[in-house]
Every structure is written in structure tokens, then in C-alpha cells.
């Protein structure tokens, strides 16, 4: 088998996932949060593909394609929401959206 060992892929996937998660946690703009979620999904996709290659089966790759499809539809919904918020002149800051407070 060519290329680096599967460990490196998993480490890269973990790094991508943590970067995305930190982005979700610390950024305020919904647009950036959506972007960070995409980075997290890509991290997990990378892990799926790496393991699929490691064990020599295609299931993980098929699963990664399914994740991409779901990520695409998620972006559609998320961007739609953001556009709707922009149209209504709602400030694009998640910390201001606190109507769920108990």
C-alpha cells in the first residue's frame, strides 16, 4: 500500500475536527459557524475514507459520499436561514439569539 500510514490521516482528521469544533464554540457569526461545521464534517469524512482504505473495503467511501450529500443540504438550510435573518435585519450574532433561555 502506498502513501503515509493511516495514523497520520486520523491525526489530520482529528485536527480538522477540533478546529471546526473550536470555531463553532468561539465564533459569533452564524456564517462562520456554518463553515466550521463543514470543516468538522470534512474531518470526519477524511477519517472514514482513511479507514476504508486501510481495511480495503468501500463502505467508508460510500458513507463519506452520503455525508457530503447531507452536508450540502445542511448548508442549503443554514444559508437559507442566515439569508432570512439578514432580510429581517436581525443582527448576525448568535449570542444575541437567546430566546431559549430558561
Amino acid at each position: 500500500m502506498h502513501g503515509p500510514d493511516v495514523t497520520w490521516y486520523v491525526v489530520l482528521a482529528a485536527v480538522l475536527f477540533v478546529i471546526g469544533a473550536l470555531g463553532v464554540l468561539v465564533r459569533r457569526s452564524p456564517l462562520i459557524i456554518l463553515l466550521s461545521v463543514e470543516i468538522m464534517l470534512n474531518g470526519s469524512n477524511l477519517a472514514l475514507i482513511a479507514f476504508a482504505r486501510h481495511v480495503g473495503r468501500e463502505d467508508g467511501q460510500i458513507f463519506a459520499i452520503a455525508v457530503m450529500a447531507i452536508a450540502a443540504s445542511e448548508v442549503v438550510v443554514g444559508l437559507g436561514l442566515i439569508v432570512a435573518m439578514g432580510r429581517r435585519n436581525v443582527e448576525l450574532d448568535v449570542d444575541k439569539l437567546r430566546t431559549l433561555r430558561g
Binding site: 469544533a21 463553532v24 464554540l25 448568535v94 449570542d95 439569539l97 437567546r98 430566546t99 433561555r101 430558561g102
Partner: protein, 629 residues
């Protein structure tokens, strides 16, 4: 089925059928019909008892006991308790007394309770009582006897509280029930001991298998004595009887004079082999009887309620019976039980006529001079009084004197009893004639002149009240001739196979006892005549508070039992309920309110903090799974 067994069942079940018919019939039966049904069935029971008695007379002396069992009532392991009736000399005698006096008193009630609200309920209860009392005396084993014992207590409770709108009546009913329940409990404990030791409860095998001596025998006899003392209103469980006079007068006559309160004497006579195994308890029974007869006689001297005087006199007379049963003079005790049933029922029922004539007044201070208006009542009351004092040839003379004579056969202890009995005889003469003179003697009182009313016609009361009292007066006069010292003693012979006397007084002892007790009775009567005889009663010193209060027994029990319980309840309410139970609920709710307020602040609506919680939770879970793999 043999005739005697059939008669026993008829005797037992007739009053029960009346109770059921009146209860189920409700308003379909007229009030008068209820009285008639109740009296008729009691007469049927009496007829059945007479039939059983007649049949038994024809049988040879040794084989007069018959048991009949209808079904097995209780079965537990090797214990079997049937619904068994025992018809022997003793129970047939009690059946005759209960059903005979009972039918007279129920018939009297038809006139006495006429126009009373809820007559139906009254007659249903009366029939229930007669049934329970017959069950008590006819039962063939101790368990059934205990059932009858409890049921007479129940019917007594129901009838004392018959006037349920009167708080005193309800209080008296509860008091009687509680004190009787105490006796029931000790009796049940005695039965448990017997079951444990013998495995049976039917009389014959209990008597042959029971422990002959030792602590166990004493405990069994003590338990039975507890039941007898409570039911028969002897010291120390006597305080319920005077209060029980809150019930209608015929109830006092039937339950609290003639039958139920004498059940204790019947119990001692019936189970005398168990008492003979514990002589100390027998002596205790006699001692309690002597103490009661003296104390009740003293209290009766100062009571002002006509029924209470007779109630204390009942306690005193039952004291005589306890003395008789305690020293082993069983036939004498039963004989006195029988004559007492006649003359005490007579006294109560004629007192009922007086109370009726005065529109419900029971205070003797307001009576006086009633003899002119009620000559018949005065005559029968005089018969009852003479029989109670024991003036020959009235019934009390024969029966009481045979008990007093029997005390002379028991050594030094017997001599003490003899002295107490004679003192009691003096007191009996004193309080009986006092009552008679206060009610009938002297000039007519203002209250009587104003309130006295007798029904139109020749009779002083309803016909059913007059003829029943007349029959009882005849009974109180002649019943005593059934037995006279050694000369003529069919009753002792009759009872001998069941309860032979332990010792019999000689003719000389009988003569001494008779002369002494009649002399003292007459002396008491003359003192009473000197004090109360004139047209205008002499002014007397204020009666001793000790006697008016009945030797402070009620106050004593209140101090020993009621006050501590009340204090404990108040203490618990203040120091346990308020802080621990009521307080803890407040504390708990306050704690939950604070906690949920604090917890609510976690939900801050900031999505990022939720995400952080989820992420850190997942991270912790991942670490846990990895490290524990």
C-alpha cells in the same frame, strides 16, 4: 335429630330470625308488629327451653348432657371448632332464665317503647341481644362462648346508646364497650393458653386436659376471671354499669340486671374445674365480689337517680353471686342468679312505670307520695324491695342466705366474707327501703302533683307493662321456694353433675346465717324508716362526696389512663408533629424551590454553551471508554 337438640336450635335461632325479619322488613312492618314479632319469638325460645327441660327431666340423672354440632366453623391444622351447642342441666337453667325473663321484658317494652321513634331498631337490637345471650349460655365450646360474650357486649353497646341524640348515652355506651373489651381480651388470652396447652376448647376435654396447678393454671383462671369481672361489673371494672342506665329502662332490666351482667357468674360456674385448679384465683373472685357488694351498697345509699340506685344494688347482688361462686357454692350462686333475675327485673320494670308516669323524670328528690296514685306499682315495688332485702318468704331470702351460709364453711377467709356479706345485708335493707320511701312514701311532691299522669282507664300503664310486672312479682315471691337449706334442695341435685358444690353448709350454719342476715336486713330497713319514714322527710346532712362520686373510681381511671394519654398526645403534637412532620414538608418544598431556581440558570439560551456541554460530555465519555477498555 333428638328432641332436645331440636329444641336447643329453635331456642337459639328464634330470636335471631326476629332480628333478621325486623331488619329486613323495614317500614313494611308496622311498629307494633315489630314488638309483637320480637316478643313472640322470645316466647317461642322460652317454649323450646321448657320443652328441652321437660325432656331432660325424664332422662336418667347422669346422661342429661347433649351436644349437637351443625358444622365445623373453624379448622386450623388439628384444631376443629364446631358450631356446637351443649344442652345440659346448667345451660337449660340459663335458657329458661334468659328466655323466660327476656320474653316478659320484651313484652313489657311493647308498652314502654310505644310511640318512641325508631321502635323497630329497638326491637331488632333486643332480639339480637336475646340471641347473643342464648348463644353464650348454650355454646358447647369456649370459642363459641367467647363469640356470644362479645355479641352481648355489642348488643349492650347498641342498646345503651339507643337514644343516640343524647351525648351522655353515647359516652356511656362507649365506656361500657371499652371496659367489656378489656375483659374480652383477657378471656381470649386465657383461651390461647388453653389451646396451646390442650389443643381443644370444648368444655369436657378442656376440663380433663387443663393444667392442674402451677402458674399456667393460675393465668388461665385469671384471664377468665378478667372477662367475668368486666361483664359482671365487679371491682375494678365496674364503672360502666351505673352509666349504662342511660339506655331505655327495659334494657336496664334485661341486660344490666337480669341476664348479661350475671354472665360472669355463669362463666365461673361453667368453667369451675379451671378455677378449682387455681384456688388463689377463686379466693380473689370471692374477695372482689365481697369488696364490690360492700362498696356498691355504700354508694347506693346516696344516689338520687332511681335507676342508678337499682344499678348499684345490682352490682352489690352480683357481688354476692361472686362470693358464692368463688367459695365453690355454685348451686347457691346460680340460685341467687335466678331469683335476682326475677326481683331485679321487677324493680327495674316498676321503676319504668314510675318514670313513665312522671314523663321521664328519674330524680328521686322530685318524687314522693306516688303510692296513692300508683297503688299497683307501689305493691309490686314493695315485693321487689322485700325480695331484694331478703325478707322471708320472698325469693331473696332463700338464695342470698344460702350464699351467706356457705361462706361459713371456708375457714378464716370465709368468716371475713361472712362479715362483709352481713354488712352488705344491712346496707341492702337501708338503701332499698330508702328508695321505696323516697319514691312512694310521704306526701306527694310538687313535681309529682304537677307532672303525674296516668293513662285513662283502670290500669296505671299500658296493659303489656302491667301484666308482665305482675308475673315477675309472682316470680319474685315464689321462686325462692325452689330450695331451702338441707331440707329441700332440688336445684343442687339438678346441677350436681355439672357443678357440684365444694362444700355444703350445715343446718346450724344456715340458721345462723338466716337469722343474722334477716335481722340485719330488718335493722337496715328500720334505720331507713326512721330517717325517711315520716310524712316530711327529716333534713339529712349532706351526703359524703366520697359516696356521691362512687369512691372516685372514674376520677382515678381518668388520672391513670385518660390524662397520660391526653398529655402524650399533646406532647407528640407539639414536639413531634409540628417540627418533624409539618415542618419537614415546608423544608423539603423550600429546598426544591431553591434548587430548581439555581438549576434554571444553567439553561441560559446560549447555543454555544449547550454545544460546549455536549462536546465536553462526549470527550469525557470517550476518555472513559478508552481508559476502561
Amino acid at each position: 335429630m333428638r328432641l332436645i337438640d331440636a329444641a336447643a336450635w329453635v331456642c337459639l335461632l328464634a330470636p335471631l330470625s326476629a332480628c333478621a325479619a325486623i331488619t329486613l322488613g323495614g317500614e313494611r312492618l308496622t311498629r307494633r308488629a315489630c314488638g309483637v314479632i320480637s316478643s313472640a319469638t322470645t316466647v317461642v325460645a322460652f317454649a323450646a327451653a321448657v320443652a328441652a327441660f321437660a325432656r331432660m327431666l325424664a332422662e336418667p340423672g347422669g346422661r342429661r348432657a347433649h351436644t349437637t354440632s351443625s358444622w365445623t366453623w373453624l379448622q386450623a391444622g388439628k384444631y376443629h371448632f364446631g358450631l356446637t351447642l351443649l344442652t345440659d342441666q346448667l345451660s337449660v337453667m340459663m335458657m329458661l332464665i334468659v328466655a323466660g325473663v327476656g320474653s316478659l321484658i320484651v313484652a313489657y317494652s311493647v308498652g314502654y317503647m310505644d310511640g318512641e321513634d325508631e321502635e323497630r331498631r329497638y326491637f331488632a337490637y333486643m332480639s339480637l341481644f336475646v340471641f347473643s345471650m342464648l348463644l353464650l349460655v348454650q355454646s358447647g365450646n369456649l370459642l363459641l362462648l367467647l363469640a356470644g360474650w362479645g355479641m352481648v357486649g355489642l348488643s349492650s353497646y347498641l342498646l345503651i346508646g339507643f337514644y343516640q341524640q343524647r351525648p351522655e348515652a353515647i359516652a356511656a355506651a362507649k365506656k361500657a364497650f371499652v371496659m367489656n373489651a378489656f375483659g374480652d381480651a383477657t378471656m381470649a388470652l386465657a383461651l390461647f393458653l388453653l389451646i396451646e396447652h390442650t389443643g381443644r376448647l370444648d368444655f369436657a376435654s378442656v376440663f380433663s386436659h387443663a393444667p392442674r396447678h402451677g402458674t399456667l393454671a393460675t393465668l388461665i383462671a385469671l384471664g377468665l376471671l378478667g372477662g367475668a369481672v368486666a361483664k359482671s361489673a365487679q371491682i375494678p371494672l365496674h364503672t360502666w354499669l351505673p352509666d349504662a342506665m342511660e339506655g331505655p329502662t327495659p334494657v336496664s332490666a334485661l341486660i344490666h340486671a337480669a341476664t348479661m351482667v350475671t354472665a360472669g357468674v355463669y362463666l365461673i360456674v361453667r368453667t369451675h374445674p379451671l378455677f378449682e385448679n387455681a384456688r388463689a384465683v377463686e379466693d380473689l373472685a370471692a374477695g372482689l365480689g365481697a369488696a364490690t357488694l360492700l362498696m356498691a351498697g355504700l354508694i347506693a345509699l346516696v344516689q338520687v337517680d332511681i335507676k342508678r340506685v337499682i344499678a348499684y344494688s345490682t352490682m352489690s347482688q352480683i357481688g354476692y353471686m361472686f362470693v358464692g361462686a368463688g367459695i365453690g357454692a355454685y348451686p347457691s350462686a346460680m340460685f341467687h342468679l335466678m331469683t335476682h333475675a326475677f326481683f331485679k327485673a321487677l324493680l327495674f320494670l316498676s321503676a319504668g312505670i314510675v318514670i313513665h308516669a312522671l314523663g321521664g323524670e328519674q330524680d328521686v328528690r322530685r318524687m314522693g307520695g306516688l303510692g296513692r296514685a300508683l297503688p299497683f306499682t307501689r305493691a309490686v315495688f314493695a315485693v321487689g324491695t322485700l325480695a331484694l332485702v331478703g325478707v322471708p318468704p320472698f325469693a331473696g331470702f332463700f338464695s342470698k342466705d344460702s350464699i351467706i351460709a356457705a361462706t361459713l364453711t371456708r375457714g378464716a377467709f370465709g368468716d371475713c366474707l361472712f362479715a362483709v356479706c352481713l354488712a352488705g345485708a344491712f346496707l341492702t335493707g337501708l338503701y332499698s327501703l330508702r328508695l321505696y320511701l323516697l319514691v312512694f312514701g310521704g306526701a306527694q311532691s310538687e313535681f309529682a302533683a304537677e307532672h303525674l299522669h296516668r293513662p285513662a282507664g283502670r290500669l296505671e300503664a299500658a296493659p303489656s307493662m302491667i301484666w308482665t310486672v305482675a308475673v315477675l312479682a309472682v316470680g319474685a315471691t315464689v321462686a325462692g321456694f325452689l330450695q331451702f337449706a338441707e331440707v329441700w334442695h332440688p336445684l343442687t341435685t339438678w346441677l350436681a353433675p355439672v357443678a357440684a358444690p365444694l362444700s355444703e353448709a350445715t343446718n346450724r350454719q344456715e340458721a345462723v346465717a338466716s337469722v343474722a342476715s334477716v335481722g340485719l336486713g330488718l335493722a337496715g330497713m328500720s334505720v331507713a324508716y326512721a330517717l325517711y319514714g315520716g310524712a316530711q322527710p327529716r333534713r339529712l346532712p349532706r351526703p359524703l362526696a366520697l359516696l356521691v362520686q362512687g369512691f372516685y373510681w372514674d376520677q382515678l381511671y381518668a388520672a391513670i389512663f385518660y390524662r397520660p394519654a391526653e398529655l402524650a398526645a399533646q406532647g407528640l403534637a407539639r414536639f413531634v408533629e409540628a417540627p418533624l412532620i409539618a415542618g419537614s414538608i415546608g423544608e423539603l418544598s423550600r429546598g426544591f424551590r431553591l434548587g430548581s431556581g439555581e438549576l434554571g440558570r444553567v439553561q441560559n439560551g446560549l447555543v454555544r454553551s449547550y454545544v460546549l456541554a455536549i462536546a465536553s460530555g462526549v470527550a469525557v465519555l470517550a476518555v472513559v471508554f478508552l481508559s476502561t477498555r
